[in-house]
Symmetry: C2
Subunit: 148 residues, 2 copies
Amino acid sequence: MSKTTMRKTGRSLPITLLRARETVMGPVREMLAASGVNEQKWRVLRVLDETGPMDQSLLAEKACLQLPSLTRILRAMEEQDLVSRATDPADRRRSIVTISDTGQKVIEDHADANRHLFARLETAYGAERLETLLDLLEDLTQTDFREG
Amino acid sequence: MSKTTMRKTGRSLPITLLRARETVMGPVREMLAASGVNEQKWRVLRVLDETGPMDQSLLAEKACLQLPSLTRILRAMEEQDLVSRATDPADRRRSIVTISDTGQKVIEDHADANRHLFARLETAYGAERLETLLDLLEDLTQTDFREG
DNA sequence: CCATAACGCTTAACAAAGCAATCAATAGCC
DNA sequence: GGCTATTGATTGCTTTGTTAAGCGTTATGG
């Protein structure tokens, strides 16, 4: 045994989060497997559908994607006619991304399966506990615990 | 606005988990940036340090890594002398991974910073809430909500 | 025994993450 | 106005995730 093993090894939040994410995303990936969109594209579509057109920086933040990743994903999504991009006339650095009818249709096609999945999760895990978990996670995200 | 936007757009557990993970891992990545280990190697080292030598399949599961990823990571870690591998004489398909003194040192070097980080998180977020969150996450991981 | 299946790990191929550098457009400042 | 700094997006490079196939080893069943 190692010296460091002697310390009380508390549960690891990073690994626990990873595991939980895998548990949740597995079924979602299954759901999306058939259609031409993957997890990331689905997140992009959902954000655009829920919030409307926006520039890429904001979209990246809301969809939890890095700008470089988003750039490449949007290129593919444009080719699939899921979204369209147009440079913002007010600031020609910006490019505004808009969901297309095809993109809307993908969302709608998966809406039922998604609701069904979520409903099963609520049943198996407990609706109140799920609410609590989401609250705690959102608070964690807003917690600042950096140096200084 | 879209048709689908009309539905009550519940909070998305996948994205919330992603965000929370990013919040937690950001500072950890900063901590590790200087040393030669990244997030994944750090997870491998921690698992080996806490639980002792083990074969790769178990290590992969505990460190939340896929076997192919682990293969590549271990190759690099062997070159860095962080771990060593030896085929299990009892079952020569298995290869047992052991943390090295260099690997131990990396853990020890970061132990303080890691504890400090975790302590600040406990302070900023609340120790009890953190416990609750970990409990809820672990339960979620054990929740089966697949079809059928 | 021996053929076959199952297992543990590796390799291969491609998409994506992460990070740094780059480029074009805008903003600030003298 | 013209120079520099900043911003939004893209590209390049390396590592990892994901899936499927492959190889050697061990278990199983006739």
